[in-house]
């Protein structure tokens, strides 16, 4: 028990919860906390240029370390600018603690300067939030905030602290393990359900494992267990966008990503399987395609820590509620004790899979004159794969190409905005990753449109000498928007072309970092090497083919087995991929 001010408590609570870095932006309502930060050295504050950047940086930090990310912003506009990363973290289950300043208690409700109803605005985009009304409750609330953010299905929380609370003195209480009686996330899966799942898996002739971000969130141990389960069972495995890296892309049972821009083999396997084991994924609409034609003949096992994910979009036969790592541990143990991989039984299935694989659905037409975006990602992968490389992305075609063509071998190396699809996520996320891993190679695979949404954070990267590499696949368009306009709207490219593009090399120089431009396939390798070898931050303007489309693709309203493959994607097929009735409903 210690007497201290509210502002001191904030810093002490951060210390007691193991926080080393926070991302933030000062303002009137948080000045007492900033004053405390100034007078200590345990916690390093990273100054961003916009509060959205602080949020995404904290998300990147959290996703790449497995720890809670922390952001600190002021009241009013500081808090409203934090809304996008909060919702982003909610949808992708990223543990994030956001501390906001608030106007003094006596002014709340008076429309004071920089006042907003922060807990009201952030209620639907957080796992939980608190307005602190008494300095003696502040420490307990902060500890509880960390507990809620990191346990169960991780997510963002907001602690809103009025300025008078920051100034006033009260009693600091140290962290407790179970601060609240109503909140009990289930960790251990039901033993009977796990047993039933293993029994079902033993009988499978055409099985598939479909894993998601929940495995990555469950820690590196969970990814190791997943790999072990795949090896023990001999089952093929695919993963969602968020789950890439949990099973290595070089692993022989790897099918590639599934879903709208997933591989042909992954989607065909999902469609034709007889037993589906879903681990830490949530049957999102980008994954399932047309839901009444989704994997019609399979028995489905679903492991998820969040009971509300079960039976939400797809009815499953065996639900298992629990932490992916804990349940995987039980499954591996039970499989070892009672089952053996049925190599002969699975052979016809693998033969079929290999026929699908031979369609080579990620193929594209190479060009000697222009850089194909897929080629750029492939070269980036080849030239960085021997290093400790972290990839972040923005949102759009480049994101899908990165997911398809970059081989992820480890979990926590791939940071992308999956659920919310936030353009502008990648650059600040890269900053957060680089702060957490100063010696690693951190690359934001970006699009020319997305990157401009948070480009101001280059200034933060330069300030902290965070050597992030912004690798822009510059096609002058909002590529994914243009692709959909081509597919759905008669190729009327309404406002998807950026007519006044900045000179990214000059922009890099203006920020005080290094700029590189490359538009020839023959010069790409040397340029990428230059980027890697540059000690500081780099903006790489990679000029790619302007009108390349991202394939394969499940056109909307179609099932997994009705994919549009690149070799079939003639102009005519693209134009007719979606029927007239469908266009009306967009």
């Amino acid at each position: 028990m210690q007497e201290m001010t509210g502002a001191e408590m904030v810093v002490q609570a951060l210390r007691d919860n193991g926080v080393k870095h926070i991302f933030g932006y000062p303002g009137g309502a948080v000045l007492p906390i900033y004053d405390e930060l100034f007078q200590q050295e345990d916690i390093e504050h990273i100054l961003v240029r916009h509060e959205q950047g602080a949020g995404h940086a904290a998300e990147g930090y959290a996703r790449s370390t497995g720890n809670v990310g922390v952001m600190l912003v002021t009241s009013g506009p500081g808090a409203t600018n934090a809304v996008t990363p909060l919702q982003d973290a909610l949808m992708d289950s990223i543990p994030l603690v956001c501390i906001t300043g608030q106007v003094p208690t006596t002014l709340i409700g008076s429309d004071a300067f920089q006042e907003c109803d922060t807990v009201g605005i952030t209620r639907p985009c957080t796992k939980h939030n608190w307005l602190v009304r008494d300095v003696n409750e502040l420490a307990a609330i902060l500890h509880e905030a960390f507990h809620v953010a990191r346990t169960g299905r991780p997510g963002p929380v907001v602690v809103d602290i009025p300025k008078d609370i920051q100034f006033s003195t009260g009693t600091y209480t140290p962290p407790q393990t179970a601060p609240r009686t109503s909140y009990h996330p289930r960790v251990h899966g039901d033993a009977e359900a796990i047993k039933a799942a293993i029994e079902l898996m033993k009988t499978a002739k055409r099985p598939v494992i479909y894993s998601g971000g929940g495995v990555v969130n469950a820690g590196t141990e969970a990814s190791l267990l997943l790999r072990e389960l795949v090896n023990l069972t001999g089952f093929p495995i695919t993963s969602t966008l968020m789950g890439l890296g949990a099973y290595p892309a070089s692993g022989e049972n790897w099918l590639g990503m599934l879903g709208m821009h997933g591989t042909y083999e992954a989607n065909m396997v999902m469609h034709d399987c007889d037993v589906m084991l879903c681990i830490g994924a949530r049957f999102d609409d980008r994954i399932t395609g047309r839901i009444d034609a989704f994997s019609p003949n399979s028995k489905k096992i679903h492991i998820d820590v969040d009971p509300s994910s079960i039976n939400k979009n797809v009815r499953v036969d065996i639900p298992i509620i629990g932490d992916a790592g804990t349940v995987l541990e039980d499954m591996v143990r039970l499989w070892r004790a009672t089952a053996k991989a049925d190599k002969d039984g699975l052979k016809p299935w693998w033969d079929q899979i290999n026929r699908w694989r031979s369609r080579n659905s990620l193929a594209y037409k190479h060009s000697d004159d222009v850089i194909m975006p897929q080629y750029a990602i492939q070269r980036l992968y080849e030239l960085t794969k021997d290093r400790k490389t972290y990839i972040t992305t923005e949102v759009g075609q480049h994101q899908m190409w990165a997911a398809q063509h970059f081989g992820f071998e480890e979990p926590n190396r791939w940071m992308t905005s999956g659920g919310l699809g936030t353009m502008g996520y990648g650059l600040p996320a890269a900053l957060g990753v680089q702060i957490a891993h100063p010696d690693a190679l951190v690359i934001d695979v970006a699009g020319d449109a997305s990157v401009q949404m948070t480009i101001q954070e280059m200034s933060s990267a330069v300030q902290y000498n965070a050597a992030i590499k912004i690798f822009i696949l510059n096609n002058q368009y909002m590529g994914m928007v243009r692709q959909w306009q081509q597919l759905l709207h008669g190729n009327r490219l309404s406002h998807s072309y950026t007519e006044a593009m900045p000179d990214f090399v000059k922009l890099a120089e203006a920020y005080g970092c290094h700029g590189i431009r490359c538009d020839k396939p023959s010069e790409l390798d040397a340029a990428i090497k230059e980027m890697i070898e540059t000690p500081g931050p780099v903006i790489f303007d990679c000029r790619v083919a302007n009108l390349a489309n991202c394939f394969p693709m499940i056109p909307s309203g179609k099932a997994h087995n009705e994919m549009l493959l690149p070799d079939e994607a003639t102009d005519e097929a693209v134009a007719n991929a979606i029927d007239e009735k469908g266009r009306m409903l967009v």
Binding site: V119, G120, R123, P124, K127, H128, N129, L131, R133, V148, R180, T181, S182, Y183, D285, R290, I291, D292, D306, P307, S308, I310, N311, K312, V314, R315, W484, L488, P555, S556, G557, K558, I578, D579, K581, G582, R583, L585, V586
Partner: protein, 190 residues
Amino acid sequence: MSAHLQPTGSAYFITKETSKAEKRTLAVLVDNEPGVLARVIGLFSGRGYNIDSLTVSETEHEQHLSRITIVTHGTPNVIEQIKHQLERIVPVHRVVDLSEVAQERNQDNPLERELAMIKVKGKGDARVEALRLADAFRAHVIDANTEHFIFEITGRVSKIEQFIAIMKPLGLVEVCRTGVAAMNRGPEGL
């Protein structure tokens, strides 16, 4: 799945729900802290669920526990989601589906009662008739002068609806209702 999906060609799929909606009464035990009701209501509006009736009051003062009674309707899938989503709210202790419990115990429905105050203004025959009907409905007069009555009536929702309908031609002025309070029959607790 019972839902029929229309192939749309849209970025999203548009679902046409074909299974029948059913009425459910839920009891939700929550920590009585600021904003908890907003969390529950926000969940319903944000996810497009229905609220037919909602009542809330602190029921255990020492533990600061409130009991929220929600009457909702939806397809079985939606009802299942509502319960899971409510359980996700951090200050929610328990969600009990009273309708489901009643079915398990071979009872029709949980006991449901509502209280209403009903103001009726009138003179002469209408006034006499209002008082006579109120007596038949076991409504009490809790305020009156020569021109009006305020009745207090407790009972099932249907009874209150009926009473209000009857009072309409007799000079109904104002209605205030509490919403439904509900509990399962039998000796067992929540």
